[in-house]
């Protein structure tokens, strides 16, 4: 391959803005790092008695070791595990960047699943319950999250505009709002709305109370994200739009916000993922969402772990979905910056 072409492919292989054209040897690619690292791994495995762990015992059985000398078995199994990790690293290091990511994901996900598998779960029980968990629990969780996300975004935009305005009342309200709802635990907010408001004569159902608490709390966090995003846009953009005769509102909506989105999207994606899981707090007021059902359905047959793990995997799956959506939106708002 001609040198120029090679330089280009390397630079293109990474999407990092800090990728450059100098090839430093990868850290683990150097024997002086790689070998001591393996030795360290071996020593750590041996120290924590890898031989007597579930993994280790499985390996001992596989190798038909005597089991008479646990110390020797531990050393042998630890050495084999360390060598396997070393071999695996050496292979993965030679793959292209994209494949490296895939393989690492697969291996780590496999490890997690093996970890769950080691709990001796009853898959029959999971299969029996998962339909209800999804049709009632997941649907409710998604409903609460999506509605709360929408309201929180609207609150955040309002809050950010109030914080950036020169109106003292708006500023005061926004400051108080973010301070209160970021400062009080979300669980408390849910209780206050569900059980406190009836004291004033307003009885709120569990679902609307949960949505209100989640929206207010996340709206407060996101107010700060939106404010920071809007403030990151250079003043010249505002001036140019105003000098052209655009009104403040259309300047904000058409010029400032679309640019601020690049800064706003990544932390907002974070918030959405956090909210998906925090929606489980609504279970304390008896909403039949995913976590509530996972707890109650497991109770009847003492199969708590099955339900908790199933619910966790469902949360994770939908977090991954949100990550993918976030990636798409980031690419959309970043398209003007592709050279």
């Amino acid at each position: 391959m001609p040198e120029a072409a090679m330089i280009r492919t390397r630079a293109q292989a990474s999407t990092s803005p800090f990728a450059d054209n100098v090839d430093y040897p990868s850290l683990l690619g150097r024997p002086i790092v790689f070998l001591p690292a393996l030795a360290l791994l071996f020593e750590a495995l041996r120290w924590w008695n890898f031989g007597s762990s579930a993994f280790g015992r499985g390996l001992i059985g596989l190798l038909h070791l005597s089991g008479l000398n646990p110390g020797a078995d531990n050393v042998i199994v630890s050495a084999i595990a360390a060598l396997f990790v070393g071999f695996n690293l050496a292979v993965v290091m030679r793959l292209r960047l994209r494949w490296q990511v895939y393989v690492v994901w697969l291996e780590l996900a496999g490890l997690i699943l093996v970890f769950f598998y080691s709990f001796n779960l009853s898959f029959e029980f999971i299969a029996r319950k998962i339909g209800f968990l999804i049709s009632q629990g997941l649907v409710m969780t998604l409903f609460i999250s999506v509605v709360s996300i929408a309201i929180a975004s609207a609150l955040a935009l309002l809050g950010a505009m109030a914080k950036l305005s020169s109106n003292g009342i708006a500023l005061g309200v926004a400051n108080f709002y973010t301070s209160l709802f970021r400062g009080v635990p979300l669980l408390m907010q849910i209780y206050l709305i569900y059980m406190g408001l009836p004291q004033l004569g307003y009885v709120v159902d569990a679902v609307p109370a949960g949505i209100a608490a989640l929206s207010l709390c996340y709206g407060a966090y996101m107010t700060e994200i939106f404010r920071a995003g809007i403030e990151s846009i250079p003043r010249g953009q505002w001036e140019a739009a105003r000098a052209l005769g655009m009104k403040p509102r259309s300047t904000l909506l058409r010029i400032i916000l679309p640019q601020a989105m690049r800064v706003i999207i990544p932390p907002t994606g974070n918030q959405f993922i956090a909210m998906l899981k925090d929606s489980s707090l609504v279970s304390v007021v008896g909403v039949w969402e995913l976590m509530y059902l996972a707890r109650t359905e497991g109770q009847s047959e003492f199969r708590h772990v099955e339900m908790m793990i199933t619910a966790s995997l469902i949360y994770w799956l939908f977090s991954i979905l949100l990550e993918l959506i976030q990636g798409r939106i980031e690419r959309y708002y970043g398209r003007a910056h592709v050279r």
């Binding site: 105003r242 000098a243 655009m246």
Partner: protein, 253 residues
Amino acid sequence: MAAPMSAEIPAIEIRRLSKWFGAFKALDDLDLTVTRGERLVICGPSGSGKSTLIRTINALEGFDEGEVVVEGVRLTREPVVVEAVRRRVGMVFQQFNLFPHLTVLENCAQPLRLVRGLKPPEARERALHYLAKVRIPEQADKFAAQLSGGQQQRVAIARALAMEPSVMLFDEPTSALDPEMVKEVLDTLVQLAVEGMTMVVVTHEMGFARQVADRVMFMDAGRIVEQGPPEEFFANPREERTRAFLRQVLRMG
């Protein structure tokens, strides 16, 4: 006395204008009249108030005393008044200030739709017309970051011209450009001058001033130190401060 004919109303009239930034007096009791079709070049050391002065004309900068009248409209802080003035005045910035999230075409067309209420096809057509005028129509679908500095500044000029203002303000339009791109922007300005646009240009490009200016004005410490037709201004500047400044700038140029 009869009411003045519209032709007699100056494009810009500034009387006894003063502005403070805290304790610093940025503009000091300044008077200036720009007639229609006049090309005024303002130069001066940094901090002399030249940018502040032209930014008061379209109310990007407020002022403390005096008055600014643009085409007969006396500038206040009223939204209607400011909008009326900004409708008549276009501005080009040192840093271009193109909208990076919009294409070149949309940079010009969106304000036309939002401010002038043009329908999308008309806005597009007018935007393309002015992009052609600054000789950049083939870049219409690119984003600003994909253009050179000189091209970006020409787009910024097209964007301002598309609003069809009667006065154009230029705040150091070539100061942020690489040397080889200065000419393409100056050529655009010269073309505009030839067509009779009223222009106020803050610049250190003395060659440009000599070529197109009707009047060159030197500012220092918020005051007009000296002004006159370019031949006179450059041939025998009266004030020592002007001479010192010109020595500096011309040596650079």
